[in-house]
Subunit: 283 residues, 2 copies
Amino acid sequence: MNNILNDLSSTKQPIGVFDSGYGGLTILDELVKLMPDYDFIYLGDNARAPYGTRSFDVIYQYTLQAVEKLFSMGCQLVILACNTASAKALRTIQQRDLPRIAPNRRVLGVIRPSVEQLGVLSKTKHVGVMGTLGTVRSESYLMEMAKLYPDFTVFQEACPTWVPLVENREFDNEGGRYFIKKHIDSLMSKGKQIDTIILACTHYPILNKAIESFLPKHIQLISQGEIVARSLIDYLERHPEIDHVCSKEGVLKFFTTESVADFEEKAGVFLKRDLKAQHITLS
Amino acid sequence: MNNILNDLSSTKQPIGVFDSGYGGLTILDELVKLMPDYDFIYLGDNARAPYGTRSFDVIYQYTLQAVEKLFSMGCQLVILACNTASAKALRTIQQRDLPRIAPNRRVLGVIRPSVEQLGVLSKTKHVGVMGTLGTVRSESYLMEMAKLYPDFTVFQEACPTWVPLVENREFDNEGGRYFIKKHIDSLMSKGKQIDTIILACTHYPILNKAIESFLPKHIQLISQGEIVARSLIDYLERHPEIDHVCSKEGVLKFFTTESVADFEEKAGVFLKRDLKAQHITLS
């Protein structure tokens, strides 16, 4: 496998986008907007989603399987478009697995560019992180902020009802708004000087309108899609040897580990385009 | 393995209670109330929960692994305290696997006794089934009702937000009540002559109070815990050879495939007693 994976010269290659489920489609959406010429393969491990409540070892194993699958499909660059996988698997894959299985391939996550953006945008140096219970408990944002911006104060808010609200399209009603407002109020009461908030879950941009309607007007709300896309463009400019082998025919392919029909139906909540998915097995 | 599994004479044995996660604890709760002398082993496959959205094959494989594990721990009788597993795995396990792996052991589900109870209680012969999307889509209740009570009309309502409301303890507020009322109103508008409703998800009994507050007073609401317990007592009376080997020291044991600390914390929503859990691996 090593020889195949390390030979980047022969064919042009799509960029892999991995998520445990549907949320990564909000990242893909922005990637396609800002990088319309590039080819992307989206892989959703819907059969084993959600990852948020799973243990470190399980998430690491599942994520590595997905990365290896995307490598075997020709991707030389894989984005973990999933906060949980980025928090719990990225570092080990980058440091331990890649040098062994594919030293010329790259895996990038969503947390580092998000944290960099928080540091650039906040004037009060008080920032908010809204995410799943898993992301909040992992403290990945706290640790990354402490490394890059040790003088910042970070306030976290876990919003465990938000993913079910999005996946069941139940956010645009009285019940949905109750739970959206609840967590914004909770976060703002903890950090009264917060001026910038990151939606640290790829599902949450679907709630953008409702969130903004409850946020004080001076707060900057940032979603990860555009940040990750801009960070990737920057990365490819700095690594022309990788950009050079990326295939650029604007082709999108979708793979899911669960029912293709379910995926095609639910994906519409996250990505405003018709798509055809294919089934794939990870193990 | 056959020899060990079929030799029921040597030692007294606990009754196994399997669920994909926490919901089966509401069944166990009633089992312990009505059968306080019996020993039970609860096994929650929390690492791979929820099952509701998974495909038939995956649910069958996971459930069979759990049943075999409970057999290997000495259970000769296993209750699938999970509507999804009962709907998608029970028949195959009973008909194809048990004769091969453990002909003297028994696996029982929650759907058959629930359907029998609907038939006994309803006068209008119009009944309601509230469950997860997976249970509703499987049409297991429709098929079982058609077999036992072909002259009944069954109305189904999928309530996909209810499990997250229970698991996040978010049901006793304005947002929670909105989603509870929404599905009751939807069901009652579909079946105006409904006089009996079954909560066909083991999480839902936690919502009993709120559900009853929104239901017209003449509607009978039935939960599965007591039905399954009474059905099991009846079964053991009819099968004294099995009852005879059930151990009766009132011992409860809990196993989970995920974090023990998480299990012990979350279990408190479903089972009003302190408990110690142990980790277990299924594969």
